[in-house]
């Protein structure tokens, strides 16, 4: 049940990112000048008939954001009450702190008339909130807890249907680097978006009809960095997914996110091109934002699953991988080894 709720929270967070994309794509960020109120009304009592023009996007974004904040609060409380792994409980607290910070950043950016650094920080922290909720959803899943073993408890990787050892250092590294690169690429994208550089290079795939822009200014440089970043990220994703499909094809928990990652990458590149060619049509533009976030969390899931064996080594019964069976007191152990604290740490 906790896992299902965490999945819901992650899904609504994804919707929130799409709504945020709509706000910036329609340039509606300042259509509601006050915060936390809306035109002097308490946010939840703002009359529906007054939701016109840009207010529809901005106010809806605020309502969804409030919902996500509340859901994360419930999630953190639920984890605190029910979760036995200390580090997972802490993920809940961190998600709560992040979403509160995110809300404050959203308010500040409105009250300060969308200064670029704040808006970029708001966009970048949104991705971290999404990553945190997705991570919680992942590590509370039954599959994660049983180490992706079969229903009978036989670890797949020892069934003879597996490739190399599951604790694949190369995969762990390449997947982690890929996830980091995707995040950086999203930050560059947010910078491009909030500095108005989205159409600084107006053509695609060429740049002013050439492979390299013939002239430069800060906006062209940011836009170019995002395109170059897309190429680097694409190569990193191809490296990760190729590794998975070549070495771990039979491991469903790796194969599926890898294939999804490839599909999302293709979608994302297409959306990026269409964003430029459509001169930032707002739906396409917003889909580009949310697909980018989906690429990030899919890569994160793949990375965490690639690291699952490492989590298992020091985990308690909840995360005990039958392949590594070494039961420990969950209250006294973290995923990478015993924790220093031996005291009860529910709080």
């Amino acid at each position: 049940m906790l896992h299902l709720f965490a999945m819901l929270v992650a899904a609504v967070t994804g919707i929130l990112i799409f709504a945020g994309g709509l706000v910036t794509s329609t340039e509606s960020g300042l259509s509601v000048p006050d915060w936390p109120n809306t035109y002097g009304y308490f946010m939840f009592f703002f009359p529906l008939e007054k939701m016109v023009g840009g207010i529809r996007y901005e106010h809806t974004h605020r309502l969804i954001a409030s919902t996500v904040g509340f859901l994360i609060l419930v999630l953190a409380a639920w984890l605190w009450r029910a979760e036995t792994r200390r580090w997972v409980r802490r993920l809940g607290y961190l998600a709560l702190a992040a979403v509160i910070t995110q809300g404050i950043l959203g308010g500040i950016t409105v009250l300060w008339y969308l200064p670029d650094p704040i808006s970029i920080a708001h966009a970048s922290l949104a991705q971290i909130v999404f990553c945190l909720t997705m991570t919680i959803a992942l590590v509370t899943s039954p599959g994660w807890k049983r180490g992706y073993a079969t229903q009978e408890g036989t670890p797949l990787r020892r069934s003879g249907r597996q490739g190399p050892a599951p604790d694949d250092l190369m995969l762990q590294r390449v997947a982690a680097v890929t996830t980091g690169l995707i995040y950086l690429q999203i930050v560059v994208g947010a910078t491009m978006r909030h500095t108005g550089a989205g159409l600084a290079i107006p053509d695609f795939p060429l740049m002013f009809g050439q492979l390299i822009p013939p002239h430069w200014d800060p906006k062209i440089a940011i836009h170019f960095a995002h395109r170059a970043g897309a190429l680097i990220v694409s190569l990193a994703i191809l490296a990760t997914t190729s590794h998975v499909l070549y070495h771990h094809r039979s491991r469903r928990e790796l194969r599926r996110p890898a294939l999804l990652l490839l599909a999302l990458l293709a979608t994302q590149v297409t959306l990026g091109a269409l964003t430029v060619l459509s001169k930032k049509e707002f739906i396409i533009n917003s889909l580009h934002v949310v697909t980018g976030a989906s690429v990030l969390v899919t890569s994160l899931v793949l990375t965490l699953r690639a690291h699952r064996a490492r989590f298992a080594r020091g985990a308690g019964p909840e995360e005990q991988d039958p392949a590594y069976g070494r039961p420990m007191d969950v209250r006294r152990a973290g995923p990478f080894g015993p924790a220093n604290s031996t005291a009860g740490d529910h709080a």
């Binding site: 000048p33 023009g53 992040a98 200064p115 920080a121 922290l125």
Partner: protein, 256 residues
């Protein structure tokens, strides 16, 4: 702490720190006008001169872009409209051009009018679209529509503000503290709503009306740089010298 948690905490914290460190605060304009020191008009009415003229447009302008007001039912029911970028009379007179004395007044100080300038949000557009005001003079921004608007000033030399007016009849009064030509306004709710104000330290400005006519009256004799500004076509300047009680004509010709 778990390494993963530590990493995520650092990332979130750094985002927050970046945000907090880089933002620049600005509070909204005070509604109270600053009490200006009493200044008497330095122009001798017996020698005051005038510059009159006309702004014309040469060539055929592109059609004014249609406004899609579908995002607000109230605005939509007002009917079809276009953005009045080019308002041209039959004899090529160009309206909504801000004409003002850019240079030549030296250190002369002029009294600030006690009457406010009114910027109305009416029919889901600004009225007037282009206007002038003196530094320190009150600007009353009113909402005559049965829908809400936000009035968002985007100055370079003055303080930015963004005020919501949710109800018909609401009024917001502000002043500007520094000269600025031109200072744009926009409504973020209704993207098509734009206006521009020229903020000056003197009263010698006008906006071309029907047939592109304008007049700058009450000027002291002297040599002046006159600038004409249009929202799409940019600015042009001319120098002119006028003597006591003289009235001279100049014309500005914009081309498309």
């Amino acid at each position: 702490m778990h390494p993963l948690l530590r990493l995520l905490a650092c990332a979130a914290l750094s985002m927050a720190v970046i945000g907090a460190a880089c933002g620049g605060g600005a509070s909204e304009e005070s509604t109270a006008s600053k009490a200006a020191a009493p200044v008497t008009n330095p122009v001798d009415p017996n020698t005051a001169s005038a510059i009159t003229g006309v702004v014309t447009l040469q060539g055929t302008p592109p059609p004014n872009p249609p406004i899609n007001r579908g995002s607000d039912p109230y605005c939509m029911k007002l009917g079809a409209a276009t953005t009045p970028v080019f308002v041209v009379s039959d004899d090529s007179g160009l309206e909504n051009v801000f004409v003002y004395v850019k240079d030549g007044l030296g250190s002369l100080k002029f009294p600030v009018p006690s009457s406010p300038v009114v910027l109305d949000q009416k029919g889901c557009s600004y009225s007037p679209r282009v206007f002038g005001i003196q530094v320190g003079q009150s600007l009353d921004i009113v909402n005559s529509d049965e829908t809400l608007h936000n009035i968002h000033a985007l100055p370079m030399a003055n303080r930015e503000f963004n005020r919501g007016q949710a109800l018909q009849g609401m009024k917001y009064t502000t002043t500007f503290t520094a000269p600025e030509v031109m200072l744009p306004f926009k409504c973020d709710v209704h993207k098509w709503m734009n206006a521009w104000v020229g903020v000056l330290e003197h009263p010698f400005y006008a906006v071309s009306g029907k047939a592109g006519a304008f007049a700058l009256a009450g000027l002291p004799p002297g040599t002046y740089t006159i600038e004409a500004w249009h929202e799409k076509l940019g600015a042009q300047t001319q120098k002119i010298t006028i003597g006591p009680k003289e009235s001279k004509k100049i014309s500005f010709v914009f081309k498309v």
